[in-house]
């Protein structure tokens, strides 16, 4: 038992600091919001630092409920860093719109505990409880700005649809358990490997994948994404688009590879469908969007589709490409959202239309350059970092004899490039719209600069270590 507890040290650090910060919130009130945000960042740093040490040799805790391997370690470090950065964006934003409350970092911390659980789930029960912990905190965060009716609507919508998805997932879990006789991933894999896949298990797989597809917002379970992303406060949207996506993707990967490895033929069809539908719909539907947050929602759907192409390969290289994709995606998305967070008119009101970006290159050249870089990168234009994850994903698909899938993926990435380039065109070639408010924000500038440097060709230095780490992490699943 003691050894098990050591393996969950990152989760323990995060939950203990969440409870401690809750005490701060109870006694010091909202005055301590900034302080507790920074303390939460410290907790995240601490948790991320102990992850490699704890999971280095790899281990199984609590009778297989919790798996600490290099895959979980990779996902967790990414999740914690992304959550910490997304949380930082909230301080100055809420201070100006509505109230920044001390519960915000607490909820992010607890949500991250759930995400960590998802990344190291070794059992269907852990999967479900982790997912619920993450989602429940996310529902509250979506309606955090409760005086804003859009935020409340986003929270309600997210909650109702999320509950439905959880129901579907649970139904699949019960089918898988009933027909394979085990809730542990190992047990399910063994049952499928020995008896072959039964109809009941097949139905279970379909329902479980449908439930998880909702969480990664893959088509056809993506409907909530644009509405929730638009309605939720922008820092919360930045959070939704980064860390939970990684966690859900890691979970999906672990379930398909570890539990359903023997049924690759069956789940591959589903994943391929979701991948194609997501890349196509995410690309086409984004074209008509006027709101930058809605556009980024469709962009996230599109990107998840590309990552799923890597998963469809079902090989160690494919899984590594998924992890690599999510890493670069998180950096680009967070960078873009930090630019969007800077979009405020002269009166200090946040603006979200794409038109308001017109002529940004003349009013705010540095901001426009950063945004252009992120857009080029997400579109996958070669010298920038965003090209590489797409390259690896397609390479993995080709290596797994899915050349046609890679070809279709490349074609849809061209559709996607259209609307990313449209933003650049609006910023550089349209007549200037009223300038944004100029305001110093050191944290935000630092994040934007760091993200821009990462996606620039300078990021190529990170290719080698990231590639090794992701391959090493993927190896833990096979």
């Amino acid at each position: 038992m003691g050894y098990s507890l050591v393996l969950t040290l990152p989760e323990i650090i995060l939950s203990a600091s969440a409870i401690a910060l809750l005490m701060v919130a109870a006694f010091a009130g909202d005055k301590a919001a900034r302080l507790s945000t920074w303390l939460a960042v410290l907790a995240f740093i601490g948790a991320a630092l102990v992850v490699p040490g704890v999971t280095g040799p790899g281990g199984i805790a609590f009778n297989g409920l919790f798996v600490a391997d290099s895959f979980a370690a990779f996902a967790k470090i990414l999740i914690y860093v992304a959550a910490a950065i997304a949380m930082l964006s909230a301080m100055s934003w809420f201070a100006r719109d509505g109230v920044y409350r001390t519960e915000y970092p607490v909820l992010i911390l607890l949500s991250s505990v759930g995400m960590g659980m998802m990344a190291s789930a070794g059992d269907l029960i852990t999967l479900y409880v982790g997912l619920e912990l993450q989602s429940l905190a996310a529902y509250v965060l979506a309606s955090f700005q409760r005086k804003d009716s859009r935020s409340a609507e986003a929270g309600l919508k997210y909650f109702v649809l999320g509950a439905l998805a959880s129901g579907i997932l649970l139904y699949g879990v019960s089918l898988l358990y009933g027909f394979s006789g085990s809730t542990s991933f190992e047990g399910i894999a063994a049952a499928i490997a020995t008896d072959g896949i039964s109809t009941g298990e097949l139905f279970g797989i379909v329902f479980v994948l449908a439930g998880l597809a909702f969480k990664v917002s893959a088509v056809p379970f993506h409907m909530w994404t644009p509405d929730v992303y638009e309605g939720a406060p922008t820092p919360v949207t930045a959070f939704f688009a980064s860390a939970p996506k990684v966690a859900a993707m890691a979970l999906l990967t672990r379930v398909t590879i570890e539990a359903l490895g023997a049924a690759t033929f069956e789940w591959r069809q589903i994943v391929i469908f979701m991948a194609l539908a997501s890349t196509i719909l995410g690309g086409v539907a984004a074209i008509g969007q006027q709101n930058i947050k809605r556009l980024l929602a469709y962009s996230s759907i599109n990107n998840v589709g590309f990552a799923l192409i890597g998963l469809a390969a079902g090989t160690p290289e494919g899984v590594a490409s998924v992890l690599f994709y999510m890493t670069v995606y998180v950096v680009m998305t967070l960078g873009t959202f930090f630019v969007v967070l800077r979009m405020r008119d002269e009166a200090g009101q946040p603006v979200e239309t794409i038109v308001s970006l017109s002529g940004l290159s003349r009013t705010r050249p540095a901001l426009a350059a950063a945004m252009a870089m992120f857009m080029f990168s997400i579109a996958g234009i070669p010298p920038l970092m965003g090209f590489w994850p797409k390259f690896y994903v397609f390479e993995a698909a080709v290596a797994a004899n899915l050349t046609w899938l890679a070809a279709v993926g490349i074609a849809t990435s061209v559709i996607g490039a259209f609307y990313y380039l449209r933003i650049i065109k609006v910023m550089y070639f349209d007549d200037p719209a009223p300038a944004f408010e100029a305001r110093r924000d050191l944290v935000s500038s630092a994040v934007i600069l760091a993200a821009a440097l990462f996606v620039s060709p300078l990021g190529w230095f990170a290719l080698e270590p990231l590639g090794t780490a992701s391959l090493n992490a993927a190896g833990a699943l096979f």
């Binding site: 607890l110 505990v113 982790g130 429940l136 509250v140």
Partner: protein
């Protein structure tokens, strides 16, 4: 304690003969089968009526019936604790809460009927699809043998249900138990974040201030002249 498993078991129902005191093994099995089908039929029928009945209050009532029968199914499985839990938690709390919510809804029955014709075609299509799926599912079930029963978790009859659950809950599933606690904590924080507001202009009671108050601060001795009022 562990005496139960070593005894002779009935071949068909896998229950130890010691648990079948009055009836010969298979008579009990027949009754079990009969009650299973009775409960299962009513669960499914009332589940269907929950979504079919036009009146939401009736829906909740059907739902309560479904919960009761699910509890009956659990009893047959020998999981009496879960059966009681179903009755207490779902029937006692959740369903009654539903009933209150439904009664507070402003249900417009005329409008409910108006939409019927418009959605009838779509609804019928969905029904046909679902029916076809069910036929396929049944066919598949007939073809590929389903052997759920043989994989059911073994129950030691000498250990009471609650004890058995408690034992695994605090050993094997300790991690999940703690995580479930965190989920509840998040629910609590969420409820507070979304509903708590600080009102201004209130005069809350402050007991420590009240206790600190001395007669000297609270009273003043006056000595007004005769015929003059008191000025405060």
């Amino acid at each position: 304690m562990g005496a139960g498993l070593g005894r002779e078991h009935c071949r068909r129902c896998a229950l130890p003969l010691s648990r079948q005191p009055n009836l010969k093994g298979h008579d009990r099995n027949v009754i079990q089968t009969f009650t299973f089908y009775l409960f299962a039929t009513i669960v499914i029928a009332s589940g269907a009526l929950t979504i079919l009945s036009r009146n939401p209050v009736h829906s909740v009532l059907w739902l309560i019936l479904a919960f009761f029968n699910a509890a009956g199914l659990m009893l047959i499985l020998g999981a009496e604790f879960i059966a009681m839990l179903l009755v207490i938690v779902y029937v006692g709390a959740v369903a009654v809460l539903f009933l209150f919510v439904v009664m507070m809804l402003d249900v417009d029955f005329a409008e409910m009927r108006a939409g019927f014709a418009r959605y009838a075609g779509f609804g019928a299509l969905m029904a046909v699809v679902l029916l076809a799926e069910m036929i396929f599912a049944v066919a598949a079930w007939n073809a590929g043998g389903v052997s759920v029963a043989s994989k059911a978790a073994p129950v030691d009859p000498s250990v009471p249900n609650i004890e058995a659950l408690g034992t695994v809950l605090f050993t094997r599933y300790l991690y999940i138990f703690e995580a479930a606690g965190l989920v509840l904590l998040v629910a609590m924080i969420g409820a507070i974040v979304l509903t708590h507001r600080t009102r201004s202009g209130l005069r809350p009671q402050n007991p420590s201030e009240q206790n600190r108050r001395r007669p000297e601060e609270a009273t003043r001795n006056m000595n007004p002249g005769i015929g003059q009022g008191v000025e405060l």
